[in-house]
Symmetry: C2
Subunit: 348 residues, 2 copies
């Protein structure tokens, strides 16, 4: 094997798990299942660790937690800054917790590492919810890349489910690729929008409303009610031109006021209606299976690509090939063949 050969190797522990790792993982998973938020928090910290020495234990913890996972409803919530995500999540979360539902609130937001303070950076934003015994709040993992955040968020969901949380709220800010990422790990996707004179709505990223199982126009209180009602009608028209993300489920457009606590229950009833519908149609189970398989394919494609572009042969040829292509002296098809040739010779 040359130095440039692919670098993916399954640790020995994966094929034949180290008994000590298995035993430690069992303790951790028991702690998680006991319902202790402290144990759950520590287990998530382990999952989020980038230290190679934690990798085998983290994987074993997820493996042992998996049989206890899968029972929640996973709800993605997005919206531009200012759309009132925190106050909505607090209002919804408190309502559910007081009814005996256990609610976990997670954040997926790669930008939070840049200290933009966008998502749950400050737990005090949800003061009331934090005090609920039935609630667990976890800020965004501090990994720099979205790929890493994705892995950790999915596995954090598994741990929260194993800990008995009934509802997993996955919050994201409407930037970059994060909505698509969250959409791919939840059962139901809720988009929060604010009504306004029209221009405020331009903050919505292209394509986000297409991902919505329901659109919720926030801040429907006081003299803002006519505007939220107009926005509701308008977005119902816009949705008319889009294919619903969940086959057979027509996305709803609702309004709510988190301040006056109006429309929160109605919004949750839509989620429950969706859950009933998708369990009955079989979509729920099939969608989760497909999400897992898609995720595996995404990770594989990404690793194949990473290995390819890290490859010494490929990397050394690319600048010259790129130059020739952009100057019109080399066709793209030929460029691809030459790059593959540069890559594969290292495996000979």
């Amino acid at each position: 094997m040359t130095a440039e050969a692919p670098v993916f190797h399954t640790p020995a522990s994966l094929r034949e798990p180290d008994p000590e790792v298995v035993a430690r993982a069992r303790e951790i998973v028991e702690g998680v299942r006991s319902g202790s938020r402290m144990h759950l928090g520590r287990a998530i910290t382990l999952i989020e660790s980038n230290a190679p020495k934690h990798a085998a234990l983290a994987e074993e913890v997820v493996r042992q937690a998996l049989p206890y996972a899968g029972q929640s409803i996973r709800v993605g919530i997005t919206g531009v800054p200012g759309a009132g995500k925190s106050t909505f999540i607090e209002a919804l979360g408190c309502m559910l917790c007081r009814e005996g539902t256990r609610v976990a609130v997670l954040a997926v937001d790669p930008s939070s590492t840049l200290s933009r303070g966008s998502v749950l950076g400050d737990k005090t934003r949800m003061e009331m919810l934090c005090r609920e015994d039935n609630c667990f709040i976890r800020p965004s993992p501090s990994s720099g890349t979205l790929g890493g955040v994705t892995r950790k968020s999915r596995e954090t969901i598994v741990l929260c489910e194993a800990a008995g949380y009934d509802v997993i709220l996955v919050e994201t800010v409407g930037v970059g690729q994060s909505e698509t990422t969250v959409r791919s790990m939840v059962d139901f996707f809720l988009v929060l929008l604010i009504a306004g004179a029209g221009d405020e709505l331009q903050g919505i990223k292209k394509g986000v409303i297409e991902l919505a199982d329901t659109i919720l126009i926030t801040k429907a209180d006081g003299n803002n009610i006519p505007r939220t009602e107009a926005a509701r009608v308008e977005f119902a028209r816009v949705l008319h031109y889009l294919t619903p993300p969940t086959p057979g489920w027509n996305p709803k457009v609702l309004t709510c006021s988190s301040l006056e606590h109006k429309g929160i229950r109605e919004a949750w009833e839509v989620v429950e209606g969706f859950r009933d519908f998708s369990h009955a149609s079989g979509h729920f189970v099939e969608n989760r299976k497909q999400q897992t398989l898609d995720w595996i394919e995404d990770m594989l494609s990404q690793q194949l690509w990473d290995d390819f572009i890290r490859n010494e042969g490929t990397r050394s040829r690319w600048p010259e090939i790129k130059r020739q292509v952009l100057e019109g002296n080399l066709s793209a098809t030929t460029a691809v063949k030459q790059l593959f040739n540069a890559y594969t010779i290292h495996h000979d």
Copy 2:
């Protein structure tokens, strides 16, 4: 090298082109550049050939044609069946040809192989345009997969440009992935829509209107005019919520009647305005460069993936790994590592 190692090898002819192939390619490119439609047609047939014996010559033809290519404006045109694509292209094409502009009409439509007769399957659909000396019409390549169609369509554009065509109209039907594919190979993307009682518009595929540099509501004639005008206003509202595909260019919504030849010139003036704008802003050149690089990346990713899933080690492990993942006994992250391990051991 084991039997399962990657199978990509640059033919010797690519590294040191066979002088005979170079000479034959030169003849073909000279024929194309002479302006003879027969020579152009034959060259495209060569490009479209799936026969391995034609591959080296086809690549050399494209390579030699490249320096003469790139001078046209490439316009993608899509719309659901019944939106009037053929009559619009005929009206626009005849107008341009009679003014001395040379127009090539290509089709990208993987479904045409299924004899749906959707795109240019019958040249007689454009009887008038076919008779124009300045026009070249080419139906969809008969390759089964969209990937193959993409390669051939992009290289067909190169040949048409080398043959001196000023305007390349790339037609596609609004199904599957074909609009995104066409969007990625043109400068300007035109979406044709029909007005109606509302429900007719649901035939538009999700996301297609997001790709539009301009929306053209067709059949604005007779008592249909109020409906097309209402649709124009409605789509202008919908576009308001979408990010324009070309930065700095706000998509227009126009109406036209191909039958009464109204609005055709106005539609073309928008394309010309776009060309002037995007040349001035530098977007035109940058976009073409980026399209080429993106295409190379797409082809590479696809080939990496194809090799991976064809790999004997990967293929033999996948059913068992998939079963374990879906039963919740194996985490997706571990599955990815195990699959990579199964893949890479063949390169050791």
